[in-house]
């Protein structure tokens, strides 16, 4: 059904598109449906410079084959660079050079191939407009009747509708076969109750606060005013699932002047001489909150700029977090090391469905 428009007979072009009548508005509706779209037909054909001027035609041809030759050069260069500039283990500069040159050469090979092909088709291939008719989605009556007939024949020959026992047992089997998958995949979830795991961390009464990552305990006297210590619980490094535990138990330790702290009732014993410990896990989506400003006492989360005020028990003063950071109650042991009084009194980190 495709037809070429050679520049002359425009009226015929596009006229093969089936015109549909505008939908008739039912009585009583205010919609005016008389603005049916008129087929404007194809614009007049315009000859390209390459169609008119043989000189231009030759230039275009030269450009296309030059681009294809460039593509060959690029591909060969890529191989040559790969051999000539290998990646030397341990030398990052060689990685950089290797990838840069390979990328440039392969880009040259592929880009000039593509650009050449497009340029060829735009400037040198036959350039007149073409219109192709759409056909209707609905099949002919004949086809429709025949397809119904095929279904009926299939049913008759297989006995699907007649042998009900076979049919029903097949349906049953199809329902049953995904069951093992569901049961098996269900077991990929953590064996223990995830709610319990989220509610508790490693911290326990008497557990020492230690340096991240070395695990050496911290004395209260080491924490001078303005200091910030990144803390992990004692014994974390020897745990098999240390990363999971660290993701919950990471703590930030700061020392402020005791008079700067506004302590609410019930938390009077949770700090030690102005040394406070807060969970490092943001209550928004769990990023490590560790940008501590020692003059303003603001704690900033790097992900979404939630800001917590350390002087006011880490209440949220800006950003999307909804709850203050949980505080870890601390004390010192007989040797002067900082220890936890207990676990956190609430789940750390972001909200979850069953959080109470």
């Amino acid at each position: 059904m495709a037809q070429h428009d050679d520049g002359g007979d425009n009226a015929a072009a596009g006229s093969a598109v089936v015109k549909s009548e505008p939908p008739q508005a039912s009585r009583g509706t205010a919609v005016i449906a008389s603005d049916a779209f008129e087929n404007p037909g194809l614009p007049p054909h315009r000859l390209r410079v390459t169609d008119i001027d043989p000189q231009k035609d030759r230039t275009a041809e030269r450009r296309v084959y030059t681009l294809f030759y460039l593509s060959i050069v690029g591909s060969i260069l890529a191989v040559a660079f790969y051999v000539a500039f290998p990646i030397i283990p341990g030398d990052t500069a060689s990685v950089r050079l290797n990838t840069l040159l390979l990328g440039l050469a392969i880009a040259l090979g592929l880009l000039s191939l593509g650009v050449g092909a497009i340029y060829w088709s735009k400037n040198l291939m036959r350039g007149d407009e073409l219109s192709e008719d759409r056909h209707l989605t609905r099949g002919s009556e004949e086809t429709r009747a025949r397809s119904i007939e095929i279904f009926k024949e299939g049913n008759q020959e297989s006995g699907f509708g007649r042998r009900t026992l076979i049919r029903n047992s097949l349906l049953g089997a199809l329902v049953a076969f995904p069951l093992p998958g569901i049961v098996l995949f269900r077991d990929l979830a953590p064996a223990a109750d995830p709610v319990k795991q989220l509610e508790h961390t490693m911290w326990a009464k008497g557990m020492r606060l230690t340096h991240d990552p070395s695990g050496t305990p911290i004395k209260a006297s080491d924490v001078t005013i303005g200091s910030v210590f990144h803390v992990i619980p004692e014994g974390l490094n020897s745990k098999a699932d240390r990363l999971e535990e660290k993701a919950k138990a990471a703590v930030l330790l700061m020392r402020l002047k005791p008079e700067d702290l506004h302590v609410s009732s019930g938390r009077e014993t949770w700090n030690y001489n102005g040394i406070v410990a807060y969970s490092k896990i943001c209550t928004h989506v769990g990023c490590p909150v560790a940008l501590y400003e020692q003059q303003t006492h603001h704690l900033l989360c790097p992900c979404h700029s939630s800001t917590f005020d350390v002087t006011n028990e880490c209440e949220v003063i800006f950003g999307p977090a909804k709850r203050p950071l949980p505080q870890l109650p601390i004390a010192i042991d007989s040797e002067g090391y900082l220890v936890a009084q207990s676990d956190f009194h609430e789940p750390v980190g972001p909200s979850f469905w069953e959080r109470t």
Binding site: T50, R96, P213, G226, M254, Y292, E293
Partner: protein
């Protein structure tokens, strides 16, 4: 006969002190001995006069302080309420960092003191540091052995990631803080200034005392920063090392721009 005499002439070449190289050897020996003696003398001399020298330097520093710093920090560095803090106990390290990086004297009150061209010579910075250190004990100028960048870069990188990267960016490119404050980029910062910043906690940076990060660990961090300075990003153009924001913006503007441009070119009719 003539041949014979030429032979003897060749055999009796000047040797010993008449050798032409003897003059050069003599000059070298002379230079080395006088130079060595001078070095020996001057080092013992400096060791003997250190305290006197510091004393003189502190005197000089006091004059500099009175004319450049006292407006905000008070004539005897006691601080002016609401303008400038007291400098008792900040130590020589603080002065060396703040004045040595050009942050002090402050150009104007703002969210934080910004780095600008250094206003004093090294000797004057040293004098100011000596003066402030003479007021009250505080952290001193770091030992040269921690500033050489010969520590363990891998340990330094881990410590940097845990203690510094949240503000200064894992590649030391710096980052934003609250209300116009920011953590500056660390490339090209002198090791002494990095060390002093860790010890003193300038402005809103927390203090990392020697119990938190030992001097060796600080040296490791300095080694890591030096490694970053020396080794360019293996990925090529690093776009400021800002991560997904800068990279996303770049590909959004230039990548999508190129795609749009090529699409328009493909769809446009040829002339």
């Amino acid at each position: 006969m003539a041949k014979n005499s030429r032979m003897t002439a060749r055999r009796s070449r000047p040797v010993g002190r008449r050798h032409p190289l003897a003059t050069i050897a003599l000059i070298v020996i002379g230079l080395v001995s006088t130079g060595g003696a001078y070095a020996l003398f001057s080092s013992t001399a400096s060791a003997e006069t250190t305290s006197a020298h510091t004393q003189a330097s502190a005197e000089e520093g006091k004059k500099l302080f009175a004319s450049n710093c006292a407006t905000c920090h008070g004539l005897s560095a006691e601080g002016v309420n609401g303008v400038g803090p007291s400098l008792y106990g900040v130590g020589a390290a603080s002065v060396s960092f703040q004045v040595g990086t050009g942050r002090m004297p402050l150009a104007n009150q703002g969210p934080q003191a910004e780095q600008k061209p250094v206003q004093f010579t090294d000797a004057q910075v040293q004098s100011l540091a000596d003066y402030v250190a003479s007021l009250s004990p505080g952290p001193g100028i770091p030992d040269q052995k921690y500033l050489q960048g010969n520590g363990n870069a891998a340990t330094g990188a881990e410590l940097f990631r845990i203690n510094c990267a949240m503000c200064h960016n894992v590649a030391g490119a710096g980052g934003a803080l609250t209300e116009g404050k920011f953590a500056p980029a660390l490339s090209g910062v002198l090791p002494a200034h990095v060390y002093e910043a860790m010890v003193t906690g300038p402005q809103n940076m927390p203090v990392f005392n020697d119990k938190n990060l030992t001097p060796t660990q600080k040296a490791d961090i300095i080694t890591y920063l030096k490694y970053l300075d020396k080794n360019p990003s293996p990925g090529g153009f690093d776009l400021g090392n800002l991560g997904p924001v800068a990279e996303g913006l770049f590909i959004w503007i230039f990548g999508l721009g190129a795609v749009v441009g090529v699409t328009i070119w493909i769809a446009a009719k040829a002339n």
